[in-house]
């Protein structure tokens, strides 16, 4: 896909191809590993590489947020729960060879082929990013977030508050 004939092979394209291949392999690893800890570590690798892809899109603020929030906070939460429930080494949830596996993989291939065949050919000619280079700078992101998007921002803060209250209620032994 990334090396079709009319495209010039630039260093940027090679860099993107390397990062994207590693990220795709990590995504497969999340699904393929039987051990939950290995899946979590593959997800960490994937999120980290995704942050670098955000950097290549000049969205550096969101790349940093991706590293801090996802690989920092969310994945630690995942690993903490895996540790607490002791799901790591034991064969507690050993996958048995069942009939869902080939059906699901066929479903995935069909989904990928269907969307890719409809979406991607028309967009292969779009190679020039039109947004200004500093559109992902912290100043610009912050200005947009606190002027035009301030009401969704406040709504998200209420959502996070409700999430905190909900998780404390769920964690209590008796409500």
């Amino acid at each position: 896909m990334e090396t079709s004939a009319p495209l010039a092979i630039t260093p940027e394209l090679l860099l993107f191809g390397g990062i994207a291949t590693a990220a795709a392999m990590a995504a497969v690893g999340v699904v393929a590993f039987n051990n939950a800890v290995r899946s979590a570590l593959c997800l960490v690798i994937n999120f980290f590489l995704l942050a670098f892809i955000y950097f290549t899109l000049q969205a550096e603020t969101l790349g940093i947020i991706q590293i801090v929030v996802y690989t920092g906070a969310i994945m630690v939460l995942f690993l903490f729960v895996i540790m607490l429930l002791n799901l790591g080494g034991s064969g507690l949830l050993q996958q048995k060879g069942d009939k869902r596996m080939p059906v699901a993989i066929a479903l995935g291939v069909v989904l990928f082929g269907l969307i890719a065949s409809q979406l991607l050919p028309g967009l292969m000619s779009v190679t020039k990013p039109l947004a200004p280079d500093n559109f992902g700078a912290p100043q610009n992101v912050g200005r947009a977030l606190f002027t035009q998007y301030v009401i969704p921002f406040e709504a998200v803060s209420v959502l996070l508050l409700v999430g905190i209250v909900g998780s404390i209620l769920l964690a209590k032994r008796r409500i």
Binding site: I53, L62, Q95, A144, L170
Partner: protein, 119 residues
């Protein structure tokens, strides 16, 4: 980044989303299912950011009015990514709390055996 087509970013996002869908269907551990949902959310984030950077649908408007490039209206994709990340954080906190509660109740969290809501 010049030289990389928009379609390459979209292909990576689509691949990650598909991997997440397959994972949700074939895995039995609810924690891994949650990880696959995170994978799907991140694939959507990548798609948002790629479209936000290339702005190919607003190209005629940008050519007419170059000031648009510095206005807030070009930031919609990045704002959406921030909100998706916040919602994902809330979702993970509540979801892992539910998994812990189920584990305390049953000592077994195979999703195929959780059929309490079966009618």
């Amino acid at each position: 980044m010049n030289g990389v087509p928009l379609a390459a970013y979209l292909a990576l996002g689509l691949f990650m989303f598909t991997a997440g869908v397959v994972g949700v269907v074939i895995r039995r551990s609810p924690i891994v299912i949650f990880m696959c949902i995170e994978l799907m959310l991140n694939a959507v984030n990548l798609t948002f950011l790629a479209f936000a950077r290339y702005q190919f649908s607003t190209a005629p408007a940008l050519a007419q009015n170059p000031e648009l490039a510095t206005s807030n209206s070009i930031m919609g994709g990045q704002m959406m990514v921030i909100f998706v990340m916040a919602v994902a954080a809330a979702e993970v906190a509540v979801g892992l709390g539910i998994i812990m509660a189920i584990f305390r109740l049953r000592q077994n969290i195979d999703v195929d055996e959780l059929n309490l809501l079966k009618g």
